[in-house]
Symmetry: D2
Subunit: 136 residues, 4 copies
């Protein structure tokens, strides 16, 4: 098992008036890690996210253990697993850069492959199966 | 049990290039419902979110059953429950306006009350306990 | 001349770690006012923003006179003007609710109508011309 | 004159249902370039954005020449200029990576230094003056 790793600095826009990162933005950062891992396996993002085949998120969850501040350097570790012929899950572990002992947040997203026109389930493409194999 | 109800129209900014609402933005819409319910119970948002007492979200989860499009009218039903002296949870059910039979998404957030300076747990304020009672 | 008025409360998500609204989010709030005025004139947002005719923003500007905080109630006044057969501008004035003497921000967006497939300029639809007349 | 350069890939979250980047998000990307240039000159972002000295944006403007899609690689060139003892402006030019002939967008932000408690103008710090000199 080899995790994909995404490096991310916390931007000012990610924060809120409590001075820390707004909770839902951490899920958006996880999604950036997912996109970056897709690119790393040779997938073209523009066609991936706007084509007739879509893999919408059917559920997401996240646990927060420490607050994140503007300028913090994060490492997001990602691994993906096949759930069924038409669905997969991604697990994310977020660390402060240089502190790989204790995750500051962990998250999970589930994705189902559909025909985006008729919105019916279809099997994952060979390209996505290869990406899952690459990151599991 | 009486749910707080928040009305929300999907904005263009909420959507992404797949043509539907970006997943993490639905949690942000749930948080708007939470804020609106705080105001309804007499809480001042500015001091609530920037004072020395904070109630950060420690976990969040969401399940999606139907896609949401720009212009869609939503009803977000919210109810809150005490977990312990220093924590509570909020459950959200999202419906298309006029279709109250089938939720299009359900979500949950857990919140823990802390002293935001020393970041240690403290008991929920009487004001928040009243808000929980009001929405449970 | 009659302005369209959009009421908006500042959400926690709109703010940043400086404790006030993040600058670019005020332009997003102006865009919400634009969307709401389109709906008020009978335009369906979902087809408007995803059809083969698009009216992308070609320029935007904004001046800020006072900071906005979470929970603040705003009134956004909007008026639109035809620039040419294929373009229009919108002017926005933002006030604190109940303080209509001094704007806290003013903004402007310019929009050009295009065929979104070939991305060439085309004339504004009768529907948009009617909306402009309605809000100028 | 030497421009600071910020590399940025367009994320899915940056886009909207028209399939391209949501206009206000391009200003947020410009702000990321600003933050990254501050770090490059030795400024600590966390204290910079939450201290008693703030440099809020007083105006912003942007012109768009080409649409940006999910996955596009951008180069943001930034240069800063002193306006007065307490204010400066930043100019941004955005290019597609590898196409440095024609900007796809240009933007400008103006910033005024204030005491964030009493919200009165104060002179720019030596640290910020050095950053301006570095990027002009």
């Amino acid at each position: 098992m080899k995790n994909f790793i995404y490096d991310r600095t916390i931007h000012f826009r990610d924060t809120d008036a409590a001075g820390v990162v707004y909770f839902a933005n951490v899920l958006a950062i996880c999604h950036e890690a997912y996109e970056t891992s897709l690119v790393a396996s040779g997938i073209d993002l523009k066609s991936f996210f706007t084509g007739n085949v879509a893999v919408p998120i059917t559920s997401a969850k996240i646990d927060f253990f420490k607050p994140m501040f503007c300028g913090d350097h994060l490492k997001v570790l990602l691994d993906s697993n096949l759930i069924s012929a038409d669905s997969f899950e991604i697990k994310y572990q977020i660390f402060f850069d240089g502190e790989s002992q204790r995750a500051i947040a962990i998250a999970e997203t589930k994705h189902t492959c559909i025909d985006s026109i008729i919105r019916k389930r279809i099997s994952l493409s060979p390209q996505l199966l290869q990406w899952i194999k690459f990151n599991q």
